[in-house]
């Protein structure tokens, strides 16, 4: 339906609704109003369907992560983000294990009269652990990719709502009215202007007598 047709159609619906109302034709009046309401919601429904379809496609496009068996199960963004949490947690624990071992090894190296062979072995082990620690950081590449793709999906959904004329601010404020505002979480440089540094925090606390 082009704009001129649309307008003519609208005028006709409104005139018929008015005529029905004036003659006390309740059913006829409702038919016209329902037709108008349907015309208003149809583009919205079409937009939402398109958004849902695009979201489905975007989710399908996400790179699979981990091993084959895991990859099958990771079929939505939430599962992928959970996977990021698990991956980072595992990498951190692995790194901490290795640093703890290195710490114990350096303590041994500090012992007097440690045989040359054992000294050599301890140094070799430390070198090996340092390489392992560096390798463990490779999780960042994988988690970074997953997070970027999920960010892309969120942006597309956000833009989709914008295209449907649903202002995100309104949605956000409605949300806030119902639930307590969430904590800000880690501050991101250039994004969170409200965040203060440790130095600012120290000044603030000393002003407060701490």
């Amino acid at each position: 339906m082009d704009v001129a047709m649309d307008k003519a159609w609208l005028v006709q619906r409104l005139q018929e609704a008015l005529a029905a109302l004036e003659t006390g034709d309740e059913a006829g009046w409702r038919v016209q109003i329902d037709a108008l309401a349907a015309a208003r919601t149809q583009p919205m429904m079409a937009g939402l369907s398109r958004l849902a379809r695009e979201l489905g496609q975007a989710l399908g496009e996400l790179p699979t992560v981990g091993h084959d068996a895991d990859a099958e199960e990771l079929d939505d963004a939430c599962a992928r983000l959970d996977h990021v949490v698990t991956m980072t947690e595992q990498a951190t624990h692995r790194t901490l294990d290795l640093t703890e071992e290195c710490r114990a090894l350096t303590a041994r190296l500090g012992e007097e009269a440690l045989p040359a062979l054992e000294q050599q072995q301890a140094l070799e082990r430390i070198r090996h652990n340092l390489t392992e620690i560096a390798l463990t950081q490779s999780y960042q590449d994988l988690t970074g990719q997953i997070i970027r793709r999920v960010v892309g999906i969120v942006r597309r959904v956000h833009e989709g709502f914008g295209a449907l004329g649903l202002p995100p601010e309104l949605q956000a404020s409605r949300q806030q009215g119902r639930t307590e505002p969430a904590l800000a979480g880690p501050a991101v440089a250039g994004v969170d202007r409200h965040a203060v540094s440790q130095l600012d925090a120290d000044d603030l606390l000393s002003d407060l007598g701490l």
């Binding site: 901490l96 703890e100 880690p186 965040a195 203060v196 540094s197 925090a201 603030l204 606390l205 407060l208």
Partner: protein, 126 residues
Amino acid sequence: MRILIVDDFSTMRRIVKNLLGDLGFSNTAEAEDGHAALALLQSQSFDFVVTDWNMPVMTGIELLKAIRADAKLKTLPVLMVTAEAKREQIIEAAQAGVNGYIIKPFTAQTLQEKLGKIFERLAASA
């Protein structure tokens, strides 16, 4: 000196535990949220609490308020170690009676400084 470390991330608990160990505080226990921490504080003896703010079940600020409202626990020193970095939040924590506030990510040196400062103040007021 027995210290309770409260954080929902096991890695952060481990990091704090290691840092405290390096500073000579090796007697520590861990809890994964404010609720679990409060249960431990009420059943065992602790001299110090290091807590995160944003945790499920019971947050660090709620834990702090609960500690200050408890006749037996109210003088327990509490150090907040958190990613929350809004002015209002720091003020809220101070008003709730926090003894120190560290913003994540933090360094071993910051932790050492804040602990030193808290112990100095406690010694001065004792």
